[in-house]
């Protein structure tokens, strides 16, 4: 499944750095921005996540909730947040979804790294077999 403009966004229940949430319930009557990054502790994303934290009031002013996503687990996101604060001046002040693979294959196909490591690819296949 490829995501297209006009499609209903996939719904899923996930762990985030701000606790467990169900995506559509979390959006509620707001707008939402979901932005994915390939991996924690990578340089470009470090600058992006810091800047997004700085810009968050502008999203709030427009009634837009912000949420980040990568395949890494929540405890890894939390460790990375300290680096982001130190180097960019702003720690993420929005939830980061951890390890979405098992929850929403369609989002994962859209957002995961192009060439997953073989071990991760094998794990993905296993999880997909369980989910679909």
């Amino acid at each position: 499944m490829t995501l297209r403009i006009g499609d209903i966004a996939p719904d899923f229940e996930v762990e985030t750095t701000e606790g467990r949430l169900r995506f559509h319930d979390w959006i509620g009557s707001s707008w939402a921005v979901l932005f994915s990054h390939p991996k924690d502790f990578t340089p470009v994303c470090t600058t992006e996540l810091g800047y997004m934290a700085k810009l968050k009031p502008e999203f709030e002013r427009r009634n837009v909730k912000v949420i980040g996503l990568s395949v890494d687990p929540v405890d890894s996101h939390a460790k990375w947040a300290a680096d982001i604060k130190e180097t960019q001046g702003h720690a993420p002040n929005y939830p980061l979804i951890g390890d979405l693979i098992s929850r929403s294959p369609s989002f994962t196909r859209c957002c995961r790294r192009k060439r997953a490591a073989p071990r991760r690819a094998a794990r993905l296949r296993t999880i997909r077999r369980c989910v679909t």
């Binding site: 297209r4 707008w31 921005v33 470009v44 859209c110």
Partner: protein
């Protein structure tokens, strides 16, 4: 991959932008697009190139000239019949 997805209160996807690994995103552009998405969800208008909040907008093609006269009694600029420019609705 590095993607940005904007979702509306109706849970529908409104925007998808994909970036390669080596190019960081421009989140100010995402805010600009959200201003356009929210405006055009509320009013039957479209936003032109590089539009920013407060600038003139284009009357949507789905609005006939007869309808447009009711909505914009003060009229509009039309350098071409298909390009009808009005101030941003409040």
């Amino acid at each position: 991959m590095r993607n940005v997805i904007v979702i509306g209160p109706d849970k529908k996807i409104k925007l998808i932008i994909a970036y390669p690994m080596t190019t960081g995103r421009n989140f100010d552009e995402v805010l600009r697009v959200i201003d356009s998405l929210q405006l055009t969800a509320k009013h039957r208008v479209a936003t032109p190139v590089n539009w920013k909040q407060g600038e003139d907008v284009i009357i949507a093609g789905s609005v006939s000239d007869e309808e447009a006269k009711k909505i914009y009694p003060q009229g509009w600029k039309a350098p071409r019949p298909y390009l009808r420019i009005v101030p941003q609705p409040k």
